[in-house]
Each structure stands twice: as C-alpha cells, then as structure tokens.
Symmetry: C2
C-alpha cells in the first residue's frame, strides 16, 4: 500500500531506492470508505495524507452551514491542512473520502527524518510549498476576475479526469457557485458548441 508513494519519492524528490525504503519502512497506510472523514474541522491536523488510490476532498463549512471545497486530491496528491499541521492550530478544514481511498499517513517526524536523510528532500519540500502558493494564487486570480463559465472551463481544462469522478455539486462548490448555476452554465456551453 505504499507503491505509489515510494515511486513518487524516487521520481520527484530524487531519493535513492535505499533511502526510500528506509524512510518508508515505518509508515502506516489506511483505507477509508467513501464518505468517511479523515479530519473534522476544529481538530488539529496531525498528518499529511498521500493518496495512493481513490479521491479525497478538503472543504470548509461556513456560518450558514454551506460547504466550500478547497481541494480535490486524486492519486499521487497530498491532502492536508498545512497551516494546522505546521502551526498546530485547529483546522478550518474537514477532509473526506469522495471514493473508497487508500492513503499514506505522513507526520511531522517523517518530514524531519526525510530532511536528515537527504538534503535534496528539503529542496523538494520547498518546491512543493512554492507550487502550492502558485496554485492558490491562480485560484484567487480566477475568483477575482472570472465569471462562473470561465471558472468552469478552467476547471475542466486543469482536471479533466475529476470532471467525471466528482459529483457536479462538489465542482460547483469548488468554483464558488451553486449546483443550479453550474447546471445552467453547462446547458449554455452545450447549446453554443461543446
């Protein structure tokens, strides 16, 4: 249940076979059924979840009880509330399995050991953070400037596979619109060409 993660470490973090094996020897993996929660808002997030198989989503719940999807995490993605894990604060997010999902649990200790074993891992970690920032920045820009239709088109361009695996109301929630609006946007798009 670690195959993807081990392959990921070798390829992206440039670790050797031996380094990967020693690092991941003590890691635990877990399975969650569709609909199960990996983290509830208000708890402290102790882990970063690496998705071996399946699909996660993280989301917030506002005062009115409405959910807002922050991130989808398909295979080979990390899902976590970074702020909660790093600063040991109560999490704003909840994390839920959208499909039956197998994850690898990475704790703070893992990050430490990884950095000690190979300094390339520190570089890798910084790059991951920089990438995350770039991604969030792009999303803010979209939310500030684009209509619902543009945001949707951007979504299906970026995550074509997710468009099929994720219920439409979750995509609407990610885009910051209602399911009804997304339905109408799709109707318009279908009418006009594709």
């Amino acid at each position: 249940m670690l195959e993807n993660f081990q392959a990921y470490l070798k390829e992206k973090a440039k670790l050797s076979e031996a380094e990967v094996l020693s690092l991941t020897a003590t890691l635990t993996s877990r399975k969650f059924r569709k609909g199960e929660f990996l983290l509830h808002a208000g708890e402290i997030c102790h882990y970063t979840f690496f998705v071996e198989k399946g699909l996660l989503r993280s989301f917030t719940t506002d005062d009115a009880g409405k959910e807002h999807v922050i991130q989808f995490g398909p295979e080979n993605w990390f899902v976590s509330d970074r702020s909660s894990a790093y600063f040991h604060e109560a999490s704003d997010f909840s994390i839920e399995a959208v499909e039956d999902t197998a994850v690898v649990l990475l704790d703070a200790d893992f990050m430490l050991r990884a950095s000690e074993i190979n300094s390339a891992f520190t570089q890798f970690n910084e790059m991951a953070l920089q990438n995350h920032i770039r991604h969030l920045q792009k999303r803010i820009n979209l939310l500030l400037s684009a209509t619902a239709e543009k945001r949707y088109l951007d979504f299906i361009r970026l995550y074509p596979d997710l468009t099929l695996r994720v219920p439409q109301w979750m995509i609407a929630s990610y885009l910051g619109i209602t399911p009804e609006s997304l339905s109408r946007v799709r109707k318009e798009l279908a009418k006009n060409h594709l």
Copy 2:
C-alpha cells in the same frame, strides 16, 4: 536604508548581529516614487522586495484591462511574485509603489547565502512560505463564502492602517468588487451603526 530589514532578520529569523551585518553588507536598496513600477507583468521577477518605508501593491490585469490587487505591502513586508522568482517564469503580476517607497532588493543569491550562514534561516523561510499559504487559503475561503460587506469588514479588521493609506478603489479591487459597490457597502455600514 537597511535598518528595518536588519532588525527584522534579527528578530524573526533569529540571526546574530554579526550574521546580519555580513549578510546585508552587499545588499542594495532603492527608492521609488509614488506611481512607479518595480515590476511589469510579463517580466521575470528577479527580486523579493522588502519594504523599508512606504507602501507597495502587486496586482494582475485581466483580459478586459481590469486590475485586481493581489497584495498590499506596507513597512516590514515582503512583496514579490514568488512563482516567477522561484520558477523563473514570466510574472503574472505588476508591482507598483502606492506611496514613495524605499525597498531592499533580495535576489536568489541572498537566499542561498542566508541559508549557508545559518540553518535557522531555512526554517524561517519555510515558516514564511507556510504563512503565505495560510494567508492565501484564508482569502480563498472569504472569496468563496463571504459577501462584499463581510469581506470589507474582514479587511479593515486585518489591515486597519491600510484602510486609511490606500485609496478606496484599490481596496475594492482587492476585495473583488467595484469602487461603486464598496462605496455603497460603506454607506450601509455607516447608516446601521459604525
């Protein structure tokens, strides 16, 4: 013209007086007049700007020519297009001086030297990235869930000083609404209590 930055390094990155002096010996600082650009969208961002005095803003310009403020940078803040600087890509942002501003120019070499001199700086840098992520995440959440009024109240709570130094239309741009809308929001707030 480095006083604030040197004090910042000592306090936040936990560097010694000697480390600070040797690190900052070769740094250059520059002054920009109100309205001057430090970076134009499309260029590669070679520097992180530390604001010694004054006020910067970074913003994008959309297809319709509309500006969207990404960040304000008052004294003791860093302003940069992190993605452009880190990945050597063309910047999506422009950076402009909102007031007459004095900045310290930090390049990639500075970061390297800082990490070599004191490993605490690497920790500091990671914390800065994590903080940035937390901040962006909060903003996305606001954009997804809050009305214009809530977003404005959040802004004046977070940046009470900026509310006075920044023209209203820039705040509107930061909030993702038109200047007219912000004017009406303020009118409503004034009518109802404060």
